[in-house]
């Protein structure tokens, strides 16, 4: 595939434009589809322009952490499958997939959006474990936002299976997964000293720095992750926070309840 060069992307951004004619604060077209995988307890597909992410949630039973004996557990994993990009290699997770999973994890965990305290089966012995698996199918930039949105959409549809005689009865559901909030991750990207959102892959290749800001329904910040080999000034961070709170609301509306 022919790609716009880094310098071209930067030059266009300097002139307050983007290579695909979007405004700096404009997302690509977003489509969310839920319940796409029959065998998952919750699932969602997110299309953000040409970026395509599939999120499946599996529920399992595990023993709790010693310091939270009566709480369920959350595990987020991300696969940058080689089918999604010529730059993705098969094999164990690399630092990019680990960062992706951990940033999505923190947004969900820190907002306390899953009612983990309602996932205890037997204190100190058995609790539900929520496994969120992110599969990137097509990589055209902004994977964090797409994956976080997909995870939230899937969580809202997740059902807890029946648990009988120490066995999970898959396909037979007891209740919905308790959800208290809908955090949204927005990644603000800095290119040529301008701030913009939802970079496509060409823009991502030209970025100086990025910051992912997850916000909850109250408009509070619940996690931050800066990436890239450049820097942000305090004033830029303030603008990035404003933008994330505003755009977070917009994306949350796409989720419904």
């Amino acid at each position: 595939m022919l790609k716009a060069s880094e310098n071209y992307v930067k030059k266009i951004v300097e002139e307050e434009m983007r290579i695909d004619n979007r405004r700096f604060d404009e997302f690509r077209e977003i489509k969310i589809e839920t319940d796409v995988i029959k065998n998952a307890e919750g699932s969602a597909r997110v299309l953000m322009g040409n970026t395509h992410v599939l999120v499946g949630i599996k529920m399992s039973v595990a023993s709790p952490f010693p310091d939270t004996p009566d709480e369920g557990m959350l595990i987020v994993n991300a696969e940058l499958a080689p089918i999604a990009s010529p730059t993705f290699e098969p094999g164990p997770p690399n630092e990019d997939s680990i960062e992706l999973a951990r940033v999505v994890d923190r947004g969900i965990r820190e907002s306390h959006c899953i009612g983990l305290e309602k996932l205890c089966i037997e204190e100190g012995k058995e609790v539900w474990e929520v496994n969120i698996d992110i599969h990137v199918l097509d990589h055209d930039g902004n994977l964090i936002d797409a994956a976080a949105l997909g995870a939230m959409a899937a969580l809202l549809r997740t059902k807890i299976p029946r648990y009988e005689n120490k066995r999970i009865v898959f396909g037979d559901y007891e209740r919905q997964l308790p959800i208290n909030d809908r955090p949204i991750a927005i990644t603000v990207t800095k290119i040529s000293d301008k701030l913009l959102i939802d970079p496509n892959l060409e823009e991502e290749d030209a970025l100086d720095a990025r910051i992912t800001i997850s916000t909850n329904e109250k408009g509070e910040i619940c996690s931050l992750q800066k990436g890239g080999e450049g820097y942000f000034t305090t004033e830029e961070l303030e603008r990035a926070a404003d933008l994330s709170i505003l755009k977070g609301k917009e994306l949350r509306n796409l989720l419904g309840n």
């Binding site: 010693p66 630092e95 960062e99 923190r106 408009g219 509070e220 910040i221 619940c222 931050l224």
Partner: protein, 246 residues
């Protein structure tokens, strides 16, 4: 919902459990040139958090296909010694250490003149020997000093510290209890004492106003660390002595 072992109160009459004021660092110790073999090395301690960093290189980049004909390639690896925490840390790379290595790498990349050493690799190893919160900050401060000690040309030093929120109060330099049971932990790194933020990670819930307040507090903290870093480097090269690690 409360975590096991959480103290009832963590700030009493404006003082923290270890007796510090809200905007006070733990005792900071830093030393440059503490290892014999490494090109550059440094120790950085925030109280009981003890980080050691070593720099090897610039040297021929291996594997060769990772070479960049235009510039040096930085590889920063953060790891925790198995005995550094109460529960033993399993040796080898974890997801956490991989992510921290990545953000430390990105932060340091802001200041190194990579173009000066084409085709080479610069390795920075950050080892946490004792952990009591803010380990990535201690590690990054040590790494920055070790790079300077190795004589790698840099635009400036990287300075970093953590800020947090405990019982609705903003605090500087998050300590062990505050990391485990506090509400917010944020690591901030900047270039020298400039308004250029190169590392930022936060967990916990804050308003935008608190966020900006915390950034400013961290910048003030970094400015203090910057002075200490500079005098540690001056100290090291004034005498020319090779201090054995204390």
């Amino acid at each position: 919902m409360t975590k096991v072992g959480k103290p009832d109160q963590m700030i009493i009459k404006g003082k923290r459990l270890d007796g510090r004021d809200l905007e006070e660092f733990r005792p900071i110790t830093l030393n440059v040139g503490v290892l014999k073999r490494a090109e550059g090395s440094a120790v950085f301690k925030f109280g009981d958090t003890y980080a050691l960093a070593a720099v090897y290189g610039p040297k021929t980049m291996h594997p060769k296909h990772m070479q960049n004909p235009q510039k040096a390639v930085l590889k920063c690896i953060y790891s925790m010694a198995p005995f550094s925490t109460k529960e033993r840390v399993r040796p080898g790379r974890s997801r956490r250490s991989t992510e921290i290595s990545k953000v430390l790498n990105e932060a340091l990349s802001n200041v190194i003149f990579f173009e000066d050493y084409p085709k080479t690799g610069i390795d920075v190893f950050v080892e946490i020997l004792q952990a009591d919160a803010s380990t990535r900050c201690a590690g990054l401060n040590a790494a920055s000093l070790a790079l300077a000690d190795a004589g790698i040309p840099m635009r400036d030093l990287i300075t970093t510290c953590s800020v947090g929120k405990v019982e609705d109060k903003i605090i500087l330099d998050v300590g062990g209890y505050e990391d485990n049971y506090g509400d917010v932990d944020m690591a901030v790194a900047i270039i020298g004492n400039q308004d250029k933020i190169v590392l930022l990670q936060m967990d916990g819930i804050i308003t935008k106003e608190e966020f900006i307040k915390m950034i400013k507090l961290a910048r003030d903290g970094c400015a203090k660390i910057y002075e200490m870093q500079k005098s540690a480097l001056r100290e090291r090269y004034k005498t020319g002595e090779e201090d054995v690690e204390s």
